[in-house]
Symmetry: C2
Subunit: 432 residues, 2 copies
Amino acid sequence: LESGAFLPVRRMLNTLHAAEVAHLLESMPPKERHVLWGLLREERHGDILQYLGEEVRAAFLREMDPQALAAATEGLDVDDIVDILQDLPGAVIHEVLQSMDEQDRQRVAKALSYDEDTAGGLMNTDTLTVRADVTLDVVLRYLRLRGEIPEMTDNLIVVDRQDNYLGVLPLSDLLTRDPDLSVGEVMNTEVKPMPAELTASEVAARFERMDLVSSPVVDASGRLIGRITVDDVVDVIRDEAEHSLLGMAGLGEDEDTFAPILPSARRRAVWLGINLLTAFAAAWVIGLFEKTIAQVVALAVLMPIVASMGGIAGSQTLTLAIRAMALGQLVESNVRWLVFKELAVVALNSLVWAAVVAAVAVWWFGDPRLGWLIAAAIVINLVIAALSGVLLPLAMRRMGIDPALAGSVVLTTVTDVVGFFAFLGLATLFLL
Amino acid sequence: LESGAFLPVRRMLNTLHAAEVAHLLESMPPKERHVLWGLLREERHGDILQYLGEEVRAAFLREMDPQALAAATEGLDVDDIVDILQDLPGAVIHEVLQSMDEQDRQRVAKALSYDEDTAGGLMNTDTLTVRADVTLDVVLRYLRLRGEIPEMTDNLIVVDRQDNYLGVLPLSDLLTRDPDLSVGEVMNTEVKPMPAELTASEVAARFERMDLVSSPVVDASGRLIGRITVDDVVDVIRDEAEHSLLGMAGLGEDEDTFAPILPSARRRAVWLGINLLTAFAAAWVIGLFEKTIAQVVALAVLMPIVASMGGIAGSQTLTLAIRAMALGQLVESNVRWLVFKELAVVALNSLVWAAVVAAVAVWWFGDPRLGWLIAAAIVINLVIAALSGVLLPLAMRRMGIDPALAGSVVLTTVTDVVGFFAFLGLATLFLL
């Protein structure tokens, strides 16, 4: 690409799957991205857009006019169109909708009315429905006439005249059961449809637990309005996982590795600023004991150890608790057990490591009192760290704050402040 | 459960899906788990085992004898049996294999020969194959005779007489195309099979990119040996994500939230110990400047700020780099660009926040030299942090170390040591 050999690049691009082109684009710095994007045939743009991460996609979308967008999204699945449109301003969405044909417009508008992170936002409207009273043979002939079955269709969906969901007819049953049987006799009524308001993470959990390929989606009155396919669920799972991972470092959910410098810097500056407050809080606590430190400088040498041990132990408990909450394992009835277990784990560990640190401190500075002090401070800080690790995320959830985002900052503040305060406070009491 | 009302519990358990029972078990402390496990009918044990996390499963497996295990795994898919057996000692596996029927034994033994984290380890052997020269009509009649199609079958696999992979025949084509056409005319030859040695994460990436439901697996000579289904890929993606998240806190890949106290404590003790070495390294650096601190105690108050800012900025870059590596976005050719971008981002941010910290320091301690010193130290530490954030994980990967596990410890060591050294060193040079 750098050498300006566009023709072979263009030829290669045409042989690649849209998802692979998207991956290539995401692995490039912004400038190269635009060159590559320009080399692509325009009719492929829509197909590729759906595979791009939100941030990279948004950058390309900003440069496209509504007509180009409508043209690019032509032929895409409704859920993918919705996915692309969701991040655009209302006026642009309106224009794009205007340039679609009537049926598509209605479908897209309906799907757009649901929150992105619900079953309704994930669903596609390409359902293949059949009635319960026809025979499998009729269904087989209908499919042959139709000539096409939407991708990821493992079931036909059985509905009544009012589109009320009744059950599913697996393609495998259609292929293996007696063609003279009616759909009603063969259909599986045990598959429960998902309500449109179900959260995306609950949708993902059900797909995982039940090993689903697709699932019908119904509205509040039980009418079929669409279906969710496993490919979109995979995206939800990946996003959820990245959300926890990136969130802990204060990065955006869909952070673009090769984002332009200024937006990246701005986003990260906020996180650094929040953490700076934490650091100032810790500094303020140390400042309270300036006189103590002036008399025993060894305290300044040893105090980061107390804070850091608390931070590590606390973040272990916090990570475990956040994951348990995400998996739906943490409920009212077992919180007490978890608190007890984490306290026990940390108590055992704090005794072991406090002894080690104490021994090193005594050997280093030759003052046995320093050993006792630092051991006590470590035990106190680790116990508080374990308690906060479980209770903080629970409290945050109750307050509607996402613990994956704010948990680690608050926890570090607690362990720093408690660590410095315990160590320097005890030293002031017993050493001076 | 606590009240001892076993009968209603047992009745409720029987109505639950195996995956839901597994989820229930995972959400319980160890003692309750065993009570519940005992309440389950024995023939359900195998079905439930496959849905349990590795650690919880291992605990139950330890208590079952090989006969019970063989009985429990009867009727399960080969890949699920393999999944369960993989963690057992060789002798037990041997015994379980002995009590299986011949066909199952061969299949399981073959699948066990592949590494757990490869396509071979993920695959199932329940493939439905057809020849290219028969007509669709023959296939349709064959399926009706067979009477059953394995779950998650979206394609029949087309092979020649020597079982060499030729292509796939989607069920949807089977249902919609002219029955007089031959399989060879209809089959899709663009779907590339996955080699058995492909890593699990590359398998997952291909499923995500291509929106697959299932994929054929071939050996080195191109012979079909099994297929991978999307439900197992979803597990890989979930595991990968958890690996990064839990690994950063030094927790096990499949850490059981309600693990017994002693094993938990032992595992975490190791992590705390490793981090303690980091803390001692930082303390040692501070110790070098004891005399400086004794003269200017303000340094002790401010020094955690320098270290902490470096740690935060570095972990942002590190998280981004680790994720980019996991997604396959980070290659030789764009490392330089990423280093440049991260340096630019951090340079901008360090200037802003260094100024803020400097202003606070001057206001707090009334010494303008302190402001200059801490600003310079922060800029130095943040630049080093950004550099390490990109280059450390790359170096670790080259050395065969998993950066998701060791990255954050090493990075914190760097930012602590550099932070304290820069700040206290500059102070010693210019303040005394």
